[in-house]
Every structure is written in structure tokens, then in C-alpha cells.
């Protein structure tokens, strides 16, 4: 009988398998891409305006907007965001998706750029630009030239169609 039991047990073991867990399907969060560090807002809590890729630098971005920015971006083809609108361009390094060959997903966080549209006393609109870089994020606005057209670039990214 013991031989029978042994062979049944051996068969069951073989069927159950003893392979190591496959790291590619392990449950995990994408921690590298998290927005950690010194930043006054959390754009991941906002809604999406659009996204894109810079193949030369292997980076990908998502443009987020606060309620005022979202509202405007989805009803107007112009680029004149109203006072109160805040846009946040979040840029990540790209990495190959280990779960889908041919796909690339966000890896290390690279930067967050904020454009805050503010109405001045005389009614003119000012674009307050702030930049944060690295992971964790550190403010680097002072190192950047304000005249390099970043606010205009952010405004130029039209909303992705979401019917």
C-alpha cells in the first residue's frame, strides 16, 4: 500500500508544480513612477488632458489639469486658459513593459512642470511657471529660464478626444 500512496503523492506533487513565482506577473505597484518629493499639488489626483512621448529622450508624459483647466480644454480649441487654471506636465523615463512585449510604460519619475494661470489686478493673465525635477522631486524653477516657452508648450497640447 505504501508504494501506492507514494506514487499518488508523487503524482500530485508533480501536477501541483513547484516552480518559483514568476516576477513578471508578481503583484506590485509601480513605485518608481510615484510622485514623491517636494511638490505643492498632486496632479495624479487631477484629470487627464492628454499624453505623449519623446522618443529621442525615451520619456513619456501625461498632461493633467485642475477642474478649471479640464473644463476649458474640453470645450475650446483655443489655447487661452482662464485665470484659475493649473496645468501639470508629468514626465517619466520609459521602460519596456515586462508584461507586454512591444509596450513601454512609465519608469523613474523625471519632472513635474506646473503652469498656474493667474489674473492680475488689471485683468491681464500671468503664467506662473514652476519646475520640479528628480525622484524625489526638488524645485528647480530658478535654474530654468522662464523665457524658454514652456507655458506656451503646455498650452499647445490639445486635449485627447474622450467621447
Amino acid at each position: 500500500m505504501s508504494i501506492l500512496y507514494f506514487s499518488v503523492a508523487a503524482t500530485l506533487l508533480a501536477l501541483a508544480g513547484c516552480s518559483a513565482p514568476n516576477p513578471r506577473v508578481e503583484t506590485r505597484l509601480n513605485a518608481n513612477a510615484a510622485l514623491t518629493g517636494d511638490i505643492p499639488v498632486d496632479p495624479l489626483q487631477w484629470r487627464v488632458i492628454t499624453s505623449g512621448v519623446d522618443p529621442r529622450n525615451s520619456t513619456m508624459f501625461t498632461l493633467f489639469g485642475n477642474d478649471a483647466a479640464i473644463q476649458y480644454s474640453r470645450i475650446s480649441t483655443a489655447r487661452n486658459y482662464p485665470g484659475g487654471a493649473v496645468l501639470a506636465l508629468v514626465t517619466w523615463q520609459q521602460q519596456e513593459d515586462s508584461r507586454w512585449y512591444g509596450g513601454k510604460i512609465p519608469a523613474q519619475l523625471k519632472s513635474v512642470e506646473l503652469v498656474d494661470v493667474r489674473a492680475s489686478d488689471d485683468g491681464r493673465l500671468l503664467n506662473l511657471y514652476r519646475a520640479y525635477e528628480g525622484s524625489p522631486l526638488r524645485e528647480t524653477t530658478r535654474l530654468k529660464s522662464q523665457a524658454d516657452g514652456r507655458p506656451t508648450y503646455l498650452f499647445s497640447l490639445r486635449a485627447a478626444v474622450m467621447p
Binding site: T27, L29, A34, I75, G102, P163
Partner: protein, 313 residues
């Protein structure tokens, strides 16, 4: 007593051999053509279940192993049959190959219950590299046709004018209704797919966002909904890529009881700005489950969501 038990078991075993589902090798009508080295890897690793050239080892012929083998071959041929793949248009062939290599790379294929007894079918890292080299080079940012850019522009103007969604959206063939609120959900990741020339954004409802903040994502709680939105990749004037024409939005709706027959998720997809439901009948969801199956230990979800920095607002 012992002798009798063993004799009894032997008889049952012999009788079981008569219960044999039919497994034949129909002619290969349109065998997939590839360079010899690639073909050899596919033959060795895939053809036993994914072609009409099934060759069984003697131990595969013994019931109950035989029944398992027969059912695997039947399912395998249904999903991907290299003996018929040659008849498919090139785009479809490429899509199939990308998925096949992806499944091999994930360790989902060949099935481990097969490789355990047929170790020669294991795809080595070198062979995987050869397969990747064959289906690559990743199409270097296919130049988007002027027609596509014009279509994307027209679609955008219509959408801004509120004209693209004026009609009521038809439910999916499995009865799942369209969820127009997806566009106001939070982003949990994005994908740049050079194989399909698309950019994708994965949006998730509040239940999912809370689950991410609490690190409770396996299983995802009932009520979790994901929307995967796809656009064509569209080059801009500075060498970058932006979202172009809206292609589709696909949903995964978690309800382990209601959707028990489709892996605990409700699946639905709507195509184009006119939001045409995907699928001819409710069986379309089987395709969804089949493709997500390798991730069953991860509650069928491919994407690792971006970790929350600050918990839910």
C-alpha cells in the same frame, strides 16, 4: 487484499484508456512562413498544441494525461494555429506574433504542465531573443498618414463641439452599459505601444484609487473599474508623439459574483468616436479572458498601477 486493490485499480486504469476524445491532425492549409531558425523554435515550443502537426509522446497517449493533452491541443489551436496563420493578413499575423512572444516572455507559454514533461519545449533566453529580433525591429514610429492626421483633427473639432456623442450609446453584447464618466477618472498608468502604433491611458474609478492607496490590489475590490483608452500615435512637428485619433475605450468591471463566468470581471469595449460596441455576441469576452489569463495570479490585470504618493484626496 492488497493484490485485489491493485488489480481493481489496474482494471479501472485499463478501462479508462477507452475513453478517448478524438485528436486528429488535419492538413496544414496555410502554414506560417518564417526563417528556418525561427520556425525551428516555434515548432519545438509551440507546434504541439498550436498547429495541425501535433506529435504525442507515448506517455501523452495514456489516459488521464491524454484527455488533458487533447483538451489543451483543442484550446491551443482555437487561440492560435500556426498551420492556418499563413492565410491571415500581415497585420493580423504580426499582432498574433507579438502576443505569442509576450506570453513566452511572461513565462505563461509554453504551459508549465507541458514543459515539465517535455523540457525540450522550454524557450531559452537565447531563443526568446531570436524571436524578439525576428518580430522586431519595433516599427520605428510608423509615419502617420496625412489622412489620419486630418481624421484626428476632424474628430477633435467634433468632440469639442459636443457633436460626437449626441446619440445614445448601445450596450455591449454582454449587456454592459457604456460608462461615459470614465473621462473624469484618475490616471494610473499609460502605455506607448509601437506594435499597434497606439498610445494608451489607463483610468480608474474611486474604488480602484482607494485600493491602490491601501495596497489592496490582489484581488481588486468589487466595484473596481478600469478604462483603457487608446489613441493613434501622432507625430508632432518637434519629433515627439502625441495622442491622435481616438481608437477605442475598453472597460474591466470587477464583480466576483456577477461576472464569475468571466474571471470575476465584466469586459466591454467601444470602438471609434461613434462608440460602436465591440463583439458580435456575449462570447467576445472569452477573447478578453484568454489574453488576460497569464495574469490570473495578479487578478487578471496587466498594468502595475503607479503608486500613490499621498493617498486619496
Amino acid at each position: 487484499m492488497i493484490v485485489r486493490t491493485i488489480a481493481g485499480l489496474a482494471l479501472v486504469f485499463l478501462l479508462l484508456q477507452l475513453v478517448r476524445p478524438k485528436l486528429t491532425n488535419p492538413p496544414a492549409t496555410a502554414d506560417f512562413e518564417a526563417p528556418a531558425d525561427v520556425k525551428e523554435i516555434l515548432r519545438k515550443a509551440c507546434y504541439a498544441c498550436h498547429s495541425n502537426e501535433t506529435r504525442l509522446s507515448w506517455f501523452d497517449e495514456i489516459v488521464p494525461a491524454y484527455q488533458l493533452v487533447a483538451s489543451d491541443v483543442k484550446r491551443g489551436r482555437m487561440v492560435l494555429n500556426f498551420s492556418e496563420l499563413g492565410a491571415q493578413p500581415k497585420a493580423r499575423r504580426n499582432a498574433v506574433l507579438f502576443e505569442a512572444v509576450s506570453q513566452i516572455q511572461m513565462g505563461a507559454m509554453p504551459l508549465s504542465r507541458y514543459t515539465r514533461l517535455h523540457p525540450e519545449a522550454v524557450v531559452t533566453p537565447g531563443e526568446l531573443a531570436a524571436l524578439r529580433d525576428y518580430i522586431l525591429p519595433v516599427p520605428p514610429a510608423r509615419p502617420t498618414a496625412q489622412l489620419d492626421i486630418e481624421a484626428a483633427d476632424a474628430q477633435y473639432r467634433q468632440w469639442i463641439a459636443g457633436a460626437s456623442t449626441s446619440h445614445p450609446v448601445q450596450a455591449a453584447p454582454n449587456g454592459i452599459a457604456f460608462l461615459p464618466g470614465y473621462k473624469n477618472w484618475r490616471a494610473i498608468s499609460s502605455t506607448d505601444r509601437t506594435d499597434t502604433n497606439t498610445l494608451k491611458m489607463i483610468l480608474a474609478n474611486d474604488v480602484a484609487i482607494r485600493a491602490i492607496a491601501e495596497h489592496k490590489i490582489n484581488p481588486w475590490p468589487n466595484g473596481t473599474v478600469f478604462a483603457k483608452v487608446s489613441w493613434m500615435r501622432q507625430p508632432d512637428e518637434n519629433g515627439g508623439i502625441r495622442t491622435g485619433k481616438f481608437e477605442q475605450v475598453a472597460f474591466m468591471i470587477k464583480n466576483s459574483e456577477k461576472y464569475a463566468s468571466t474571471a470575476g470581471w465584466g469586459w466591454a469595449q467601444w470602438m471609434g468616436a461613434e462608440l460602436k460596441p465591440f463583439g458580435i455576441d456575449a462570447n467576445f469576452a472569452r477573447e478578453c479572458v484568454a489574453c488576460h489569463l497569464p495574469l490570473r495570479k495578479n487578478d487578471y490585470v496587466f498594468t502595475a498601477p503607479i503608486a500613490a504618493a499621498r493617498g486619496p484626496a
